[in-house]
């Protein structure tokens, strides 16, 4: 127990300074222990209360263990409860003394009052002392057969506790099969629910070692069990309903009529007062209908109202959890929620994290019919007292502008922001106007007129300043005094602290020079001089580069600095759709709140035994195998509709392999994936002899290239890869195990590549464009791990690659395995050249 550091905070209560009080208590307890005087229970109760209160505030009272046990011979149930509580807390650290308690607990297990029987059994199982398990089996066995459901309910959970103390004792006593019998036959639904949760845990944990447990676990989601539970669902209490619903999401109905039956049966659960039940039901609906696109859409329509009601009722904590889920759904199918945009309006006193979610949803649901209202609303937030939210709202307006084709009204609004004379509003608006101009150059005339009026002195934030400079350079033709503004900025070079701004200033002056040479010449000279003298390496290098290129050839310089630009059509999305799909699969879990799939945050050691889905999380790589194969196919189809993609994905998954996350979570192949996965890991961890030397020269090339297309003269690829290669994960696993490592290399990544590798998905798409497909990926900055494969064109010869990238050291390690060993070197070169182009536009 932690020392009671906080105890001084409440001086109202006398706090024991330490040992003297405890030993005082000890003495008093000892006096009472043997006493049979009337009223002794009351004084015992006072003492017990004191002991427990010390325990509660964190004082170690474990030294009283013996005395507490001695006093526990009582018929008073409150005294018993306090004693159980005390014993439960300290037994684990005092295993020897815990033995003392066994006696009275066992006696209580045969008490005639079922409440005492239950409590004693619960405490007995909560001792969690390994060498006492032998005393548990007997009471548990009779507890499971008890005539009172309260005792049975406690006993069932007791079995689970026993399992965690000593799995073998539990299994040897044949408790799991007793639980199974109880689950299917007990009249009390709480007993049934407890059996279900206990069996899920036990069999999931056993599944890794025992075939039989795997089978048993599968029977849990077999049709008879699921229907048995579903038909009784209304009898279960709300929490048990959540448990059953969670199980139902794992059930795979055989045909669509079954799906409709289940949905009809569960429809009223959407109206349940408990939000957890509603959300669990929604998950069932979403998962059941994944393969039926039109029904899936109807489900969205159906669950909309309950979700929106959940958000507006209950405590702020509840609405946040619901809102996170709503956010996920809105992002997947914005058009379904587009008429409900008013629900996403921010209320004044909502916490900022709620407002932020709402702003994102408002941005997503904006369409032709509601854009005007949404933008009007967002503009009101720009004058909000909460500055971060005001900024976010302006950004949201900008994002909507970039989504929509009709930006007329929005541009006016943005320009009004620029005239608001509020520094952060101006700053955000400038950045947005810049992005807008990159996408819609046709608006330059209106925008530039307003931007030209902004005094650069009012713009302080580096990002905004950089945006303003970009516009000054790009549109110097249209801005009368652009050269003079730039000139004054160059004069104050030393006062500019941000290197980013100085870089932009250099470029802007260059651009301006090519458009209006006579007016800018002085400024350019000054800027180059200041730039070359700059202490910041990048600024220095760029200035030097400009200087030399101007010296070399002015027209070349113009082509480099001022090339004709194409309007940007789509800005890169921050979160890839693969990740979003993954999170959707984990609906009604923490993943949604964190906006990350669980494999990115849950700790491996805590997953296995508890939940089936967690176990799948364990297979993060194995699980993704399927995902990524599909993602490859998806990109080919180039389908932007998320709703559709998921259902397609579902179909593909179903057909291509069986180890997807939820089409068949119990499929034994998932276990085998896991097994083979570990083999891969171990195979990889063996350092292979192949040297790293051949790569040294390449790495240097890369460095010298300064990141400018440093592609190591891509060998005119004699080796042609099949652009539409396909390999299912199990074959990959199989081959990986079979083939020897043909090549193992380490090399450096380009700085751009490192910068671009913020998430594994970015690289996947890049490699795919080079006909190298990813089959699994994982990890978080700075360590990423990928498994790639490629196929020779016109020949079914495969290359398998394991690639580990550390972005902090910019190193990539690859191991190549190939069907055809002789071409592995050629393939490796191809792979590296593809990798080195990553991040270079």
């Amino acid at each position: 127990m932690a020392p009671p550091a906080q105890s001084q905070r409440s001086p109202s209560r006398p706090q024991p300074s330490g040992k003297s009080e405890v030993s005082d208590l000890k003495l008093q307890l000892r006096q009472l222990a043997g006493s049979r005087a009337p009223g002794v229970d009351d004084s015992k109760r006072e003492l017990f209360k004191k002991v427990i209160s010390y325990m509660t505030i964190g004082i170690d009272v474990s030294s009283l263990f013996g005395e507490m046990v001695m006093c526990s011979a009582t018929s008073d149930i409150v005294l018993k409860k306090m004693c159980y509580l005390y014993v439960g807390n300290y037994a684990k650290v005092n295993p020897d003394l815990a033995l003392l308690t066994i006696n009275f607990l066992q006696r209580d297990c045969h008490d005639e009052d079922p409440m005492i029987r239950g409590l004693a059994l619960r405490s007995l199982c909560s001792l969690r002392v390994a060498n006492l398990v032998e005393y548990l089996v007997g009471p548990l066995g009779s507890g499971l057969k008890d005539s009172n459901s309260y005792v049975r309910m406690v006993a069932v959970i007791g079995v689970l506790k026993l399992y965690h103390i000593s799995a073998s004792t539990c299994v040897d006593a044949d408790f799991p099969s007793i639980l199974k019998h109880l689950m299917l036959n007990d009249s009390d639904t709480q007993v049934v629910a407890n059996c279900l949760s206990a069996l899920q845990e036990i069999w999931s944990a056993e599944a890794s070692t025992s075939e039989e447990a795997t089978r048993e676990r599968e029977t849990l989601i077999s049709k008879p069990v699921i229907y048995y539970l579903l038909n009784r669902i209304k009898e279960f209490n709300e929490w048990a309903q959540c448990l059953v619903l969670e199980l139902v999401t794992k059930y795979v109905p055989s045909d669509s009529s079954e799906i409709f039956d289940i949905m009809n049966l569960l429809e009223d659960r959407l109206q349940h007062a408990n939000g957890a039940v509603v959300l669990a039901t929604i998950k069932v609906f979403l998962h059941l209908t994944l393969s039926m696109t039109d029904v899936h859409q109807q489900v969205y329509e159906r669950i909309k109202a309950p979700l929106l009601t959940l958000v507006s009722s209950g405590s702020p904590e509840q609405s946040y959890a619901v809102l996170s889920h709503l956010h996920l759904l809105v992002m997947r199918a914005p058009y379904i929620f587009s008429s409900d945009y008013k629900h996403f309006y921010c209320q004044y006193n909502e916490p900022s994290y709620v407002k932020r979610l709402k702003l994102e949803m408002l941005t997503a649901v904006a369409n032709d019919s509601n854009t005007y209202e949404i933008v009007t609303e967002l503009c009101e937030y720009a004058a909000n007292v909460d500055i971060p939210i005001a900024r976010e709202s302006i950004r949201a307006v900008g994002k909507i502008a970039l989504q929509q084709y009709d930006v007329n009204a929005i541009v006016d609004r943005l320009l009004q922001f620029l005239e608001m004379e509020k520094d952060y509003v101006t700053a955000e608006a400038l950045v947005l106007v810049k992005d807008l101009l990159r996408k819609y150059p046709q608006w330059s005339h209106d925008c530039i007129a307003v931007v030209g009026n902004i005094s650069s002195k009012n713009v302080q934030e580096p990002k905004a300043k950089a945006a303003l400079l970009w516009m000054l350079g790009e549109y110097s033709q249209d801005m009368q005094d652009a050269p003079y503004i730039l000139e004054s900025l160059v004069e104050n070079w030393d006062e500019e602290h941000s290197a980013e701004v100085r870089l932009h200033l250099l470029t802007a002056v260059m651009k301006c020079f090519f458009k209006r040479p006579p007016e800018t010449q002085n400024a350019l000279g000054a800027a180059l001089a200041a730039g070359i003298a700059d202490f910041h390496q990048d600024v220095h290098d760029r200035a030097l580069f400009y200087y030399r290129i101007l010296q070399y050839n002015v027209s070349v310089a113009e082509r480099v600095v001022n090339p004709p630009k194409q309007a940007v059509s789509v800005f890169a999305d921050t979160q890839s759709s693969e990740i979003k799909d993954r999170i959707f699969d984990e609906f009604n879990s923490l993943s949604v709140v964190y906006q990350k799939p669980s494999y990115m945050f849950t700790d491996k050691e805590h997953r296995g035994p508890f939940e089936f889905s967690d176990e799948l999380g364990n297979l993060s790589i194995g699980g993704e195998l399927a995902d990524d194969v599909v993602s490859a196919q998806r990109v080919e189809e180039n389908d932007k509709d998320l709703l559709l993609t998921t259902s397609e994905k579902e179909e593909t998954r179903g057909s291509s392999s069986n180890d997807s996350a939820y089409t068949a979570p119990y499929d034994s192949s998932s276990a085998s994936v896991f097994a083979s996965q570990t083999q891969i890991e171990s195979a990889i961890s063996n350092p292979t002899a192949a040297g790293h030397s051949p790569q040294a020269s390449l790495a240097i090339d890369d460095l010298l290239g300064l990141g400018i297309p440093s592609v190591p003269a891509a060998p005119s690829p004699q080796l042609k890869l099949n652009t539409k290669a396909a390999l299912d994960p199990s074959t990959f696993q199989h081959k990986w195990r079979q083939l020897p490592v043909a090549l193992s290399q380490e090399f450096l990544l380009s700085p751009q590549g490192v910068a671009a590798l913020t998430a594994p998905q970015a690289l996947l798409r890049h490699m795919q464009s080079h006909s190298i497909h990813c089959i699994a990926s994982g990890g978080q900055s700075p360590n990423f791990k990928f498994f790639f494969f490629a196929q020779k064109a016109e020949e079914s010869s495969n290359y398998l690659v394991e690639c580990i990238i550390n972005t902090s050291t910019a190193k990539a390690q690859i191991k190549v395995k190939a069907d055809d060993q002789s071409t592995s070197q050629a393939f490796s070169t191809l792979f590296q050249s593809a990798l080195s182009k990553f991040g270079i536009p």
């Binding site: 906080q6 409440m115 209490n237 109206q271 009601t309 507006s312 009101e380 923490l590 709140v593 939940e611």
Partner: protein, 413 residues
Amino acid sequence: MLQCIFLLSDSGEVMLEKQLTGHRVDRSICDWFWDQSISQGDSFKPVIASPTHYLFQVVQEGITFLACTQVEMPPLMGIEFLCRVADVLSEYLGGLNEDVIKDNFVIVYELLDEMIDNGFPLTTEPNILREMIAPPNIVSKVLSVVTGNSSNVSDTLPGATGSCVPWRAADPKYANNEVYVDLVEEMDAVINRDGVLVKCEIYGEVQVNSHLSGLPDLTLSFANPSILDDVRFHPCVRFRPWESHQLLSFVPPDGEFKLMSYRVKKLKSTPIYVKPQLTSDAGKCRVNVLVGIKNDPGKTIDSITLQFQLPPCILSADLTSNHGTVNILSNKICSWSIGRIPKDKAPSLTGTLVLETELERLHVFPTFRVGFRIMGVALSGLQIDKLDLKTVPNRLYKGFRALTRAGEFEVRS
């Protein structure tokens, strides 16, 4: 699958710790949590990840209910459960505060023991819990003095645990059978800078207080159920009658409970208007706010209040009203309590705000939050038609009430 529950006082002190599984959660997590909660302030989310655990927190009346887990689980389940714990404790102890929890920690432990086992919620129905653990009220204290039985634990197990109406205790007996139905509505509205009502909806609850003998079977019908946009029911409500005829058919729990909650969207008007005007120039801002009745609901509107946060760039404020009282609180919140609107004049708030020296005009505009209460009216227009009992006991009294108050009612300037 919760692993541990902590109750923290408003100063961050651990008042209670309940370990639920074999994985013991160290108390030090509370220190980490408290540091975070202080440093993050308003933006502290209810579901966060600590270096070792995922934490759920629910704050009610200054008490933080903190639950830890290391496994993936439905977040709403964790939060709902903590909310129920808070509700049950508050009902048992007659409110929540540091002292009452410390004085009754044994009861809190007992309750938690029955509500959750091995990290999985068991029962949170107050009716059932009350049968297992008697609340520490004055009656039971008196009883214990009289009878000499000082145990607060009943010797019988609740009959309902085995019954098919788990929310109802075994047949209570009343000399006077009473059932009260209250419609309690909250109006959420947003009026934007141009005075346009952009959003107006009602969140309502049907609260029932039932003291009926035996196993009463009730049917409640509305005159106009079609106006309801979405409804949620207490588990006692039968789904089919609602689906086919919009009838609420149910066997009620004993005592107070929330029978149903509903939402009514797209209301067209609000009962009162609030018209703020802010004009600023030369470092001063003139404020003028008018409040009056817009749509007379037919009953008195009372407890009208108006609150707004003065922008941080304001140095001083001089505000007066022709009706009610104006207070500027220390955190720059201006609060104007109007009460009822007088017959002879329209209440108005006028005055000037002095801006910071370098500011010419005000760029940040306050949002006015409005409060009011109307007894006897459900503004959504929802009307109860009748309440029937299948078997009418003798001496039955049925009562109906309605109340509407402002929820999130805000007017932007």
